[in-house]
Symmetry: C2
Subunit: 215 residues, 2 copies
Amino acid sequence: MRDREWLPGETIPGEQAIAQEYGCSRTTVNRALRELADLGVVERRRKAGTRVVSQPARAATLRIPVVRKEIEQRGSAYRYTLLQRKEMKAPIHIREKLSLPKGGKVLYILCTHYADGSPYQLEERWINLTAVPTAHDEQFEAISPNEWLVLTEPLSNAEHTFSAINATPEQATLLDIEPNGALFVVERRTWSETHTITAAKLFHPGVTFKMISRT
Amino acid sequence: MRDREWLPGETIPGEQAIAQEYGCSRTTVNRALRELADLGVVERRRKAGTRVVSQPARAATLRIPVVRKEIEQRGSAYRYTLLQRKEMKAPIHIREKLSLPKGGKVLYILCTHYADGSPYQLEERWINLTAVPTAHDEQFEAISPNEWLVLTEPLSNAEHTFSAINATPEQATLLDIEPNGALFVVERRTWSETHTITAAKLFHPGVTFKMISRT
DNA sequence: GAGTGGTCTAGACCACCTG
DNA sequence: AGGTGGTCTAGACCACTCA
């Protein structure tokens, strides 16, 4: 069905018409078209019908696992080190990201994840202590905030931003790379239905790191 | 339904059991669970049942549009410049990526995409001339290979790899950034059901570029 | 071999949106 | 106002895979 070419620039098929033409039920057609819509190949609107998008934006699905699993899946040994941990009033840029009021308290954490002894990721994180008060009692010496939050706050929503920057001198030292070396940065914001939970910046040495998405 | 907590680490619900419990049809339960499986929250296998994943890998969906649209959507003016175009025997690393035989011919293209006059993306591309012979007749002076291929070879599969590198001197010059500046790199491989089509490397100045995925 | 998920059918009601 | 997609039901067959 998805091979067939009635795909000129942007046209309008129908839904139960297709069902008749192919001799299948509308439910099936609906599912097929819905999947095509998810892929971005097709646009659907209630009364207007279904339109074949002219220049579809490729839908790439990434799987972003917990760092430890990511490292172990490459067959490397995982190690974690806590560098800094302090409770503080949220700085302005974090207040904005987490929609916190003036004076809102956060737990700031800086830590490193190693693969086979080499720095794999530098993690900088702010946890909203109003939303996750139990973080106050966790020292994050044995478990990384990444992993702890996945266990503690399941099924949260997230927004990811990917970018590239030149390492600051401190970052270069901590990640054991050349001064000014390229870093792959993942910024993550996480929230539940009621609260914003955490903001994180994850820095990967560019030489090492690749993020892959298939189909 | 997705609020309910029978989410201990990893357990096993049933499918038509759930349908009865919630007083809805199995079709509906199936769809719900299938969507949760797509999100990576749940794992399903035929005989074994459905398991709540303990540390789910976040599924982030990216939309990767045609460069021109990406730029125009930011409200910027788009301009495109062809820098180089030559037919050649595929170098080894491209032969591997495109599964080409020795001596397989490709069309190599180097070009730049500008947003409001500033370099936005440096595109380096190899097109498989066996699979897409019509590329031979296209000069790519008026239209970018990116856009041309989306029009010519619709509905192809793709694999994307994201990484960060330091710009080479040439890249820094072409993109008008500092020497050694960080670049956000998208590598793309594209294939149809029968052929590998193209391999591309897309370089974005790290200072400018961000790639965002929501939920 | 038996039970699970994967997929389909035929029919129905509804919300939305456009013309 | 009417037609579209969105979603649901009740029932069915099949393929896979575990025990």
